[in-house]
Symmetry: C2
Subunit: 911 residues, 2 copies
């Protein structure tokens, strides 16, 4: 007895027994397609009869230098006899001919890489019989020519272009624009031409003998495993070359043999909404291609209940069975041949984000899958979709075809927005906030004092800056769609216009910005807004919350943000950038005064005047986060960021000097001189604050140590606010965070001074506040000396933006529009470390810091507040590192909740 | 029997037995002074008789609330009887009175903190007897008033200012300017006044009874251990409070009792040159103070052989004994009382750097100490001294007193230099190189294209910049004395002058710069040049070489430097900054062309033209370092550093435009337009290269990846040069170093490309070159992923300047003249991490990198090429970390050789 090389679809148990029973091994043995068909067969789904020649046979074929293993061909003929019996058709017979398909099927899908021959068994005689049987000459000759074409190219190596040239010539002769315009006689002529071509190219006749056809096709499929393109694909995809391919030989079925025939596609639930199914189309008396090609008007699948009630009921039952077997929504192809339903293929169905969520939740509620499974099935991108209006793909394609695509840039903040171009923040605010117009704010790059304009705009566009540029950070923070670094746009602020190639866009023109893909269009494109209050989404996220270990906080600087984030499920504030509060119109002059003066008295005056504003802000945050912790980071950016831009100031000065030259009255002269003096004073201070590498300069705790009055004021504001809200009956948990430390002594000095101030405030008001003092870990040294740091800090928060910059030695603003792009394209860096945490370097530092920190203080709270806190891959890493929480912008909170649950569930599974 | 509380100087063996015999314990028991005197006594050195009351007695005294331990006072009186017997004098006797000193003496010296009472035993009667005996009334009353003054202040707590006021009043009355001007009757009056003052303040008489004096003095010394100032000193110095102090009671001896008396100080060898001794001064019939006070003309110690041959011989014998006992040059005080020599004190003598080296070497040659010991005795500063002309301290003091000190700044490159001020590099070169004038180049700060001027100058002075600013680095590199960051100087380049307060210094004025201490003087100060070829130094360093494990290389960019460094003992080049070669006049235009063009053809032309220059430079380096490795670092700085300064360019453009306005002829107009266009092109490129944080921007390997032609040219030059020098018969070991890597893929990509080029060159020339490829470790990520890096690098070189910047998140140029100064002053950072390696952070990263690197490649060569490579504390750390070598500027090579030996010897000792 020879080894068993061939398994009927009904023989899956034998294959399981031989391989040991693991589904993965069965898949390896019969290939993906073969094992799938056999699996359907086993659970009673009607699939066309057929059988699989194993991958083992393929490997033996290859190692023996290209001969079939002994016994294999006999087993094929034996299996074929059983297929004939099952179908009642005869292979090579004229009356009721059996046609076969011969397809490759490896363990892993290699789309388009491997070979297929259809309609095996056709020859002149059989064709005639088939025409008699179906009455469809066009179909038969089309099928015949396909066999000759596929056999010719796959088995005999004739270039497919030679066959296509014949079809093209025929189309030209008959005046048809597409293949659909060719009639039965055209296809008959083409078939004859193909047979001549075959003879001419191979020097022999096309084999009339169906068995010869099958044998040669099988041989060709085996050989295709080691074709150059398949080998290269496997190299690229990392698939082992030793697996080999199986060959699936299956009866062809026809849905066009009469009125009791049909063909169609069906999804078991709605791919658009996730609602109950089935959803799909079918055609009576048609072939599979007709449904897809759009030549004939298809019927909605629900109509099948009217036209073929029995088949419809059977199909619905099969759909249920397939869903419960595969535990997912299925997309299946079926054919009804003479009243008999056959499922040709089933696979997991494609779906929208909304459908994905609903299907997962419904299936869990139906008991088909567990809640864990439901949570794991939804991807972070699908959650993110709910939070941003979008342009549909169709809309974008149409616009692109209409030449409306102006530029592409970095897709830094997802979502779609349309509006009128405003080239400065003040105009954007007037139009957007006062006049209620939709605005797209366009700048070469943005600065902190542009924020009021950005807030009033629907979307943001810059020609410079990278993924963590100011524009990108603020846009993500406020969920504003944004494209930055669109370098092809030349923005001329002075002329209030920008150009893209030869196109000129003026202030007030309409623009559409797609922050999801990073595209900018002229004019207004239609947007689609998903439903934010989707009940399935809420349910899914509440399940996610039950599974996750990692807590989720938000980065929020204003009470409004904090409230929104809380609605989205934030469990506290992980980062409040207290200096952002300074940028409001009434406050900025006070801060200017503080920066400009050398007199301690004036400095104190300015700070005293700022105190009530800061206190009020903190009160709002504490109320919004009632009962939850709020991390307040003390002032971080270098002071020059609060002063006007250097170039702008120089220009202003020039203008004033020209006016001085032309001053008409003495009074005007005096006023101008005063103005010039004041600006020159600012300019001088600005220049004294200028640093060659501001990122590594006078900022963070260094400010706190050199200007202690400033941080003392901030701490006073925090604790006064905490006392006030506590007295109102609120629960307040402030966490005071000191940024950019690199040596424990910085922390020691600041902490002592600031805790003194906190004590003074709370004792004076007689209120007890439970608070923590901690530090950001954003320099490598802070991470490396975390044991020392933890002796003086009750919590850590990883500032991974700066930590990444310093660990790599990369300035993100310069690099993300510069060499980093080249690095990513060339594969030197696997991904942008500012988008996804670099596990090898930055992650290693975090690991060191957490371990050292907790060695000293086991209950040390460790969070992350960099942009990475909203990135799925980074959140998974944060979970593995044992962080207490991630903090991200309000709009990313739901995504973080989901990913944190994924992390916990995957960990549980791998245990 | 009571416990033994009192030990005669002759009873040291008993003390050893009681304490267990360890010298450290004896010191703790008898105090430093007591054990030292006893030790001299033991080896037969004639010290005045006396005894020590133990620290144990002090501790018992303190814990009992201030009463002498039982039996102690009896033991004191008993010991005192033995002192009387030994001296033949009587305590309180009128004929031949014994006077005593009573001094504290704790285990560790606490200078000025503890109490002393001298001349105990004097009273009116005794004083009269002493006058009769010595015939020196002035001496006796001076001694008496000292007793009253010391006793009054130490024992009774009368403020010393009260006593000093009496002396001042007497001086005024008698018209004397100093105490030396007061005569015998003045001191007698003062003594009487002191006794009245004592009575007035304490309400009782000064105790006439010598035993009462001694008892109270002893009590006071015990109590002084817990005085506030002593307690605070111990807190600050980290001395335990439980040690207690001993009390030393010793016979006073007098050198002024007649012509057979003398007093003097002697050093056993020359403190100036280290030559054979003795060296010193003495006076016949005088008291100790007279020798030091300069009232009388002292005799050279050699004259003692004439005046007191026996004493002289004994003193020389004692000097030899003390040297051999203490194994170091001694500085001793002696007194001859009636022909009897007494040594009052001996201690290790102070010496100049030259003397230190010679004494260490001579003592080793004499067999007094081992060669290891000799090497350990010399400090790095002493070695450094040999390499720089210096201003003597006297010279500086005189100049300061003459109001010539202009400013102080950072002492970044040691040595002294005088010259005429030149405010730009070109003038400095013309004056210095062509006209041979001494020049001090003065700039607000320097840039790479100032180097030719710096080379031509004797010294460098800047008003901005820190310890690792360009000026500092270049100055150290070339051993030019330099002071940077002298912020008080206002330099006005336009007016060719600078001001310091109200003083104006113009171009051409003389200036003196002291880079050793960081001072700048007006005019020309006298310099002293130590001998570079000092034979003792050469010998000492050759011994150091035998002990050290760490190798020493040099940072050198030019053949001349390399040769000099080799003379100083460099074992290879650890860093050649290949881009420095570009800054020469014929090369810079070619580099400009390379930077300015967008055309690959033009770029190649420029690089092809640069190739021969680079090759020639490398040939010179390889010849100079024949047989030793040469690390060639590929281009590192950002390209904009090679272009003109932005402000200068703007100014040039303005000037050209004004000339354009006034152009007289059409030809002039045309020329001006061409010039303006070319500068505007440079300006544009400069602006496109501008980065917000250039330190973290487009430089290092990033240049190599974006402009591979540039690094390929450099590698070609290296290997062509290597082939040429090999053919001449030289031995060449190039090590090609890739800077600023942060991911192994950067290294992989560059290495493959560059090794291909190396192969092409060597195969074409048929020469085999043994070389290595490696990387700088200067980003934290490179250190953290050193295992990956080492898979692709055969050597590491730590670039600790940048590594420190990134680990701390500190931009050195900004910080060293900014907040870092405040940090160091406030003690937030213990030392400047750019001067001395930060062990906790940067050192930890180096440790990680070395361990990970060698886990993959056990023979990995690890060096350091940052500025720290020449810093003693950092070199010790490098040794402990197991580095292969340190690399430093040529002038630091001898220092590094010494310190490396220290490191190895200390390690051996601690094993």
């Amino acid at each position: 007895m020879w080894k068993k090389w061939v398994y009927l679809f009904s023989e899956i148990e034998k294959a399981e027994k031989y391989t040991g029973g693991q589904w993965d091994d069965v898949r390896g043995f019969l290939g993906g397609k073969g094992s799938g068909l056999a699996d359907m067969k086993r659970i009673g789904i009607p699939v066309p009869p057929g059988f699989t020649v194993t991958t083992e046979a393929c490997n033996t074929f290859i190692s023996s230098g290209g001969t079939f293993p002994r016994g294999m061909w006999d087993q094929v003929r034996e299996a074929l006899r059983k297929v004939e019996k099952a179908t009642g058709k005869q292979f090579g017979g004229r009356e009721n001919p059996l046609l076969l398909s011969c397809r490759s099927g490896a363990k892993f899908s290699m789309p388009g890489m491997m070979d297929t021959v259809l309609n095996i068994g056709l020859n002149d005689e059989v064709a005639k019989g088939l025409i008699q049987m179906t009455g469809d000459e066009r179909f038969v000759y089309d099928a015949y020519r396909r066999l000759v074409q596929m056999f010719g190219s796959v088995v005999m190596g004739i270039p497919d272009t030679a066959f296509e040239a014949v079809i093209a010539a025929t189309r030209k002769k008959s005046g048809a624009t597409t293949d659909a315009g060719l009639g039965a006689s055209d296809w008959e002529n083409i078939t004859e031409a193909f047979l001549r071509l075959y003879r001419h190219r191979t020097g022999g006749d096309f084999p009339e003998d169906p068995f010869a056809q099958l044998r040669l096709a099988t041989d060709a499929v085996f050989k295709s495993w080691n074709s150059r393109r398949a080998t290269e694909y496997r190299n690229a995809a990392g698939i082992p070359h030793t697996l080999g391919t199986a060959v699936n030989i299956m009866a062809m079925v026809f849905g066009n043999m009469g009125p009791d025939c049909a063909t169609g596609v069906a999804m078991t639930r709605s791919g658009a909404t996730g609602g109950p199914g089935p959803e799909g189309d079918y055609l009576l008396n048609a072939q599979g291609e007709d449904v897809v090609a759009g030549i004939r008007q298809t019927q909605d699948i629900t109509h099948l209940r009217v036209e073929m009630p029995g088949v419809a009921a059977e199909l619905e039952e099969i759909a249920r069975r397939l869903e419960s077997h595969y535990r997912d929504m299925q997309d299946l192809e079926f054919t009804v041949e003479r009243g008999k339903l056959r499922i040709l293929q089933t696979r997991d169905g494609k779906r929208t984000a909304m459908a994905a969520v609903r299907i997962a939740v419904d299936m869990a509620d139906e008991g088909l899958i567990s809640r864990e499974e439901a949570v794991l099935r939804v991807t972070p991108d699908q959650i993110d979709f709910f939070f941003h209006p979008q342009f549909e793909k169709k809309t974008r394609t149409t616009a692109r075809e209409a030449g409306r695509l102006l530029a592409t840039g970095l897709n830094v903040s997802p979502g779609a927005a349309c509006g009128m171009v405003a080239f400065d923040a003040d105009l954007a605010e007037v139009w957007g906030k006062k006049q209620g117009k939709p605005v797209i704010m366009v700048r070469p790059e943005t600065r902190p004092d542009d924020v009021h304009g950005m807030l009033a705009a629907r979307g943001i566009l810059t020609s410079r800056g990278g993924r963590t540029s100011h524009a990108a950070l603020v846009a993500r923070q406020f969920g504003k769609p944004a494209v930055v670094g669109a370098a092809d746009l030349k923005i001329d602020i002075g002329r209030r216009e920008m150009t893209a190639g030869h196109l000129v866009i003026r202030e007030g023109d309409w623009l559409s910005v797609d922050g999801t893909v990073g595209e900018v269009y002229r004019g207004e494109l239609e947007t689609v807004v998903p439903n934010l209050e989707d009940p399935w989404l809420m349910k899914l996220l509440s399940w996610a919350d039950q599974f996750r270990r990692l807590r989720v906080r938000t980065n929020a600087d204003y009470p409004g943000d904090a409230e929104r984030a809380r609605e989205y499920g934030a469990e506290g504030i992980g980062l409040c950038r207290t200096e952002h509060m300074f940028f409001e119109p009434r406050r900025l002059p006070l801060l200017h005064k503080m920066i400009m003066t050398d007199l301690p008295v004036e400095r104190k005056e300015a700070l005293d005047a700022l105190l009530p504003f800061q206190r009020e802000d903190f009160e709002g945050l504490f109320r919004a986060m009632n009962g939850k912790p709020v991390v307040c980071r003390l002032i971080d950016p270098p002071l020059h960021e609060f002063l006007p831009d250097h170039v702008a100031l120089m220009n202003e000065l020039s203008a004033l000097k020209i006016r001085l030259k032309n001053a008409a009255t003495l009074e005007e002269l005096d006023n101008l001189i005063t103005e010039i003096n004041s600006r020159q004073k600012i300019l001088k201070r600005l220049e004294s604050l200028t640093e060659s590498n501001p990122m590594l300069g006078m900022r963070g705790v260094r400010l706190g140590i050199l200007i202690p009055e400033l941080t003392v004021m901030q701490v006073r504001a925090i604790f006064e606010a905490a006392c006030n809200v506590t007295r109102e009956g609120g629960e307040v948990y402030p966490e005071v965070m000191i940024p950019l430390t690199s040596h424990v002594n910085e922390l020691r000095v600041q902490r002592e001074m600031l805790e003194d101030e906190a004590r003074r405030v709370t004792e004076a008001r007689g209120v007890r506040i439970g608070y923590k003092f901690g530090t950001m870990i954003e320099t490598p040294r802070a991470a490396l000396t975390a044991d020392e740091m933890a002796s003086c800090a009750e919590f850590f928060s990883f500032g991974t933006n700066d930590l990444t910059q310093m660990t790599f030695g990369i300035s993100r603003d310069d690099a993300e529009t510069g060499f980093l792009i080249r690095y990513l394209r060339a594969g030197i860096l696997p991904e942008n470390p500012f988008a996804t945490l670099d596990q090898g370097g930055v992650g290693q530092l975090m690991d060191i810091a957490i371990r050292k920190g907790r060695s000293v203080r086991p209950d040390l709270e460790c969070g992350i507040c960099g942009e990475h806190g909203g990135d799925p891959a980074s959140i998974l890493l944060c979970h593995r590192l044992g962080l207490t929480y991630v903090s991200c912008s309000p709009f990313r909170v739901p995504v973080a909740r989901l990913v944190a649950a994924h992390a916990a569930l995957r960990e549980k599974r791998s245990e």
